[in-house]
């Protein structure tokens, strides 16, 4: 047997993931030229990016589990190094947190590997086939799945994602947690679920519970965030829920939907992060209170952000709808097994999608529409031409908006031609089982009809007096907006009503005290042990002497008994 075949495997699934890793690497590198302009130690930054790219490819194509673990662990370390490039105060804490959560679950994965070795005596991915009927097998699966969950950011190992999103440089977030880690985590979950283990309904149910809880809980957290990047980070968690849910359905259409959603998510989420980064670069902040009115200043970024946020909210005909719709079909298909839990999964998925929409409406208002935060002192006359020209010039540099536009166009193409391009070329070949569609959402026809509808609308406009428009000041009951600084609606307070509802208020309170943060809990436990040990080591000589004396007595007692 030659070495390549032993250690590496090129099948349709890994090639498909590999292609997109390459695409994202290219786009992020182009974007970084603009975003990281004039920062220090860029040579390290770019070499880490390249190393990340290479080790992701290694992880995706490796067939030997040990080799896979080496690449996988290396990725966690590179993430740590890349987060350190941030210029915020919290960066080192965040990097440490991400490293500990990912490293900790890597340890679990090693345990899983050992169990797999014990069960089968092989570490070749394509040779392993374990049925989940013993406790050891279930434990091995859970350990490996924990690693996949932590990498992808599913609950309960999600807490590093929002922190990283907030602190790391935006291209790093767009590259690792938003796209590559999702691709890799879900790739590995698909590998173990589809190839290495034979699933049974109980484990599928566990996966679906994890998925549903992740969707709803993370998006509820996203609703109340005040920071652009942190909010996006929570969505990066929430969307993982859909992928896990899709894979957990255990039927081909659901799994295909989960994988398709993984791809779509990587596209629109990195588009969102890149657009958000463009705003950050321009405004110098990601605090939603201080943003506003960027739609007019940065039209390209606004449009890419709008398209990506409609995609993530699952609005037809964008790509998010196509994959969510396949996941729904998969969920409905599980009704054939005779249990009625599918209603809960379906509600979680559909309602989660409405919540996603809500939080993106908040973002769009707070960042791009609505009133700008620091009003330039201008009287209530309309912007002059010269002023608006100056404003126009503030669109980001081409190296930054070209990747954004490319990703936004992919969102549209993968939605409108879902069956002709992405599914046919990438998703279906990577699954062994044949997909039986019970219905095709004819996105192309719907798009044509929407375009006809828009034409109808424009005709209605042209029937009217649209050519004679006039600009006026906004009407606020006779008040003048610019003079009333307290009348600005920033958008951060939109969902306070929901935050105050009785049971939710308590949960939010607990979440803000990090009760659901596995890292925080872990550190409490660790420091709890430390406290006991620290109590012994109080640095007072008589105490130590007393301990020595006590030890001697015990020793003598045992020896001379």
């Amino acid at each position: 047997m030659n070495l390549t075949a032993q250690f590496f495997k090129f099948d349709n699934l890994s090639i498909f993931v590999g292609i997109f890793i390459g695409i994202f690497f290219l786009l992020i590198t182009i974007y970084s030229f603009g975003f990281m302009w004039q920062r220090k130690k860029l040579i390290y930054y770019y070499s880490y990016l390249i190393l990340t790219f290479i080790s992701s490819l290694g992880a995706v194509f490796s067939n030997n589990l040990i080799l896979f673990m080496v690449f996988w662990g290396f990725l966690g370390f590179l993430l740590y190094l890349l987060i350190e490039f941030a210029q915020t105060e919290n960066a080192s804490y965040t990097a440490k947190k991400a490293f500990i959560i990912i490293g900790g679950t890597d340890a679990l994965m090693l345990l899983g590997l050992a169990l797999v070795w014990r069960l089968t005596g092989s570490l070749q991915m394509d040779e392993i086939s374990i049925s989940l009927n013993t406790k050891v097998a279930v434990l091995a699966y859970m350990c490996l799945a924990a690693g996949a969950f932590a990498k992808a950011g599913a609950m309960p190992f999600h807490t590093w994602v929002p922190d990283t999103a907030e602190d790391a440089p935006t291209p790093v977030t767009a590259f690792l947690p938003a796209s590559l880690d999702k691709l890799l985590g879900i790739y590995f979950l698909a590998r173990i679920t589809l190839d290495m283990f034979k699933m049974n309904p109980a484990i599928n149910t566990v996966l679906m519970i994890v998925g549903s809880v992740t969707i709803v809980a993370a998006v509820m957290m996203a609703l109340i965030q005040h920071d652009l990047k942190r909010l996006l980070g929570y969505h990066a968690v929430s969307q993982v829920g859909y992928m896990v849910l899709g894979i957990g359905t255990g039927n081909p259409i659901g799994i295909a939907g989960g994988l398709f959603h993984m791809l779509n998510h990587a596209i629109y989420k990195s588009c969102l992060f890149l657009s958000g980064g463009a705003v950050e670069k321009e405004a110098g902040t990601t605090d939603l209170e201080k943003l506003g009115g960027f739609g007019k200043i940065m039209p390209i970024t606004f449009i890419t952000f709008l398209i990506a946020s409609l995609s993530i909210s699952g609005i037809p005909p964008f790509n998010g709808f196509a994959s969510k719709w396949m996941i729904y079909q998969g969920i409905i298909k599980t009704a054939d097994n005779g249990n009625n839990l599918w209603i809960i999964w379906l509600i979680a998925a559909m309602f989660g999608s409405a919540l996603t929409l809500a939080s993106f409406m908040k973002l769009i208002h707070a960042v791009f529409l609505g009133q700008p935060a620091n009003e330039q002192p201008r009287s209530n006359e309309v912007l002059t031409k010269a002023e608006s020209m100056i404003n126009k010039r503030r669109e980001t540099s081409p190296t930054m908006w070209i990747p954004q536009v490319f990703l936004a166009v992919l969102c549209i193409i993968f939605g409108v031609f879902a069956y002709r391009i992405p599914l046919k070329m990438f998703i279906f070949p990577s699954l062994v089982e044949k997909i039986e569609f019970f219905g095709i959402w004819n996105a192309s026809l719907a798009t044509i009809l929407i375009i006809v509808g828009v034409v109808v609308g424009i005709i209605v406009y042209l029937l009217g007096t649209i050519r004679k428009t006039r600009e006026t000041e906004a009407f606020i009951g006779g008040e003048i907006l610019e003079k009333q600084s307290n009348m600005r609606v920033s958008g951060t307070e939109f969902y306070n009503t929901i935050k105050d509802i009785t049971p939710l208020g308590t949960i939010y309170g607990l979440a803000e005290r990090k009760v659901f943060d596995i890292y925080h809990l872990g550190s409490i436990i660790t420091f709890g042990f430390n406290k006991v040990l620290r109590y012994i080591h109080n640095g007072v000589l008589p105490t130590y002497l007393a301990w020595c004396f006590l030890g001697m007595i015990i020793l003598f007692y045992i020896l001379l008994r």
């Binding site: 409405a354 509808g453 609308g457 009217g464 009348m487 958008g491 939109f494």
Partner: protein, 307 residues
């Protein structure tokens, strides 16, 4: 090409005509309740034509294209939904699996268009109104999906509107069962919120935030929103008629039944809207996530038990 015909004729023209008529019924009944004479039959159409002739004002500093395109997107999606519903109603066999979910999603887009339009107005009152609209969507969407799922369960787990219709044609409308009735009640109340009618006209709340998201719209933009809202007054009840009360049939005496079903729903909406005060947004959220969701869950359990 045939679809474009359906789209323009059924989806746009017919829906618009019926919607305008329904809006006339609504206004006439409201007038009668308030001891007024009420508008003549063509008044809703005259309103829109008049608005088209008015000057279009754009708030300073807003993003102009977003502001003007938002109504158009909303109108296009309403036309698309009603086309889907008409095709399903006329040829149940033509429906594709999952069109129920597609309809549910498309029905949200008009609200999104109002929200984006409101946000783009650069007016604090519009922003407030739009944020309320968003919270309203959040609150009614949960019981609404649950109520619609009742029909899915009762028709033997199909997500095809056409199959739901044929099932009802063979076995009687779902509204005749306990679970169907409960679900229809929930769905009607959700519809009231979806159409932003009193008591859930919180986003617009004329007396409080002066029309909310629509405050800056005038002339053609407002005309399109008015048209869209009037068309929704047909589309949403039509959807409920299809999934709960057996659809509209266009042959013989059934046509009369169909008209009666629709007028019944419109009259119900009007009565609810005329006999209730407006609630606050937090009350609405609690109402929909509390009692309404519980009733919908009860309906689902009943449906699973076969009642």
């Amino acid at each position: 090409m045939i679809y474009i015909f359906y789209f323009l004729f059924f989806g746009f023209l017919l829906t618009a005509i019926i919607g305008l008529l329904a809006s006339w019924i609504d206004r006439k009944v409201t007038a009668k309740v308030q001891y007024r004479v009420g508008p003549p039959l063509l008044q809703p159409l005259i309103d829109i034509v008049k608005l088209l002739g008015k000057e279009t004002l754009i708030p300073a500093g807003s993003s102009k294209i977003t502001f003007l395109m938002a109504p158009v997107i909303g109108l296009a999606s309403v036309i698309l939904v009603s086309t889907l519903l008409w095709i399903n109603n006329i040829y149940p066999a033509k429906s594709f699996l999952g069109d129920l979910i597609v309809v549910l999603y498309l029905l949200v887009i008009p609200s999104i268009s109002i929200i984006i339009g409101g946000f783009a107005s650069r007016n604090p009152l519009a922003s407030l109104g739009a944020s309320r609209e968003m919270k309203l969507i959040l609150s009614y969407e949960l019981p609404f999906i649950l109520a619609i799922l009742v029909t899915v369960i009762k028709s033997g787990f199909t997500f095809r509107l056409g199959e739901i219709l044929t099932f009802q044609a063979q076995n009687g409308a779902f509204v005749r069962s306990w679970s169907g009735t409960l679900a229809l009640i929930v769905a009607i109340i959700c519809m009231q919120a979806k159409l932003a009618l009193v008591p859930f006209d919180i986003p617009e709340a004329e007396t409080e935030i002066v029309g909310g998201p629509l405050i800056e719209y005038s002339g053609s933009g407002l005309a399109i929103y008015r048209l869209m809202k009037n068309m929704l007054m047909f589309t949403v009840p039509f959807f409920l008629i299809i999934v709960f009360i057996g659809g509209l049939r266009l042959d013989g005496i059934h046509l009369l039944y169909g008209v009666l079903k629709y007028i019944g729903l419109v009259a119900l909406m009007t009565v609810i809207r005329n006999t209730n005060p407006r609630v606050r947004i937090d009350q609405a959220v609690k109402f929909f996530w509390g009692p309404m969701t519980i009733i919908a869950i009860i309906a689902i359990i009943l449906a699973l038990l076969g009642r």
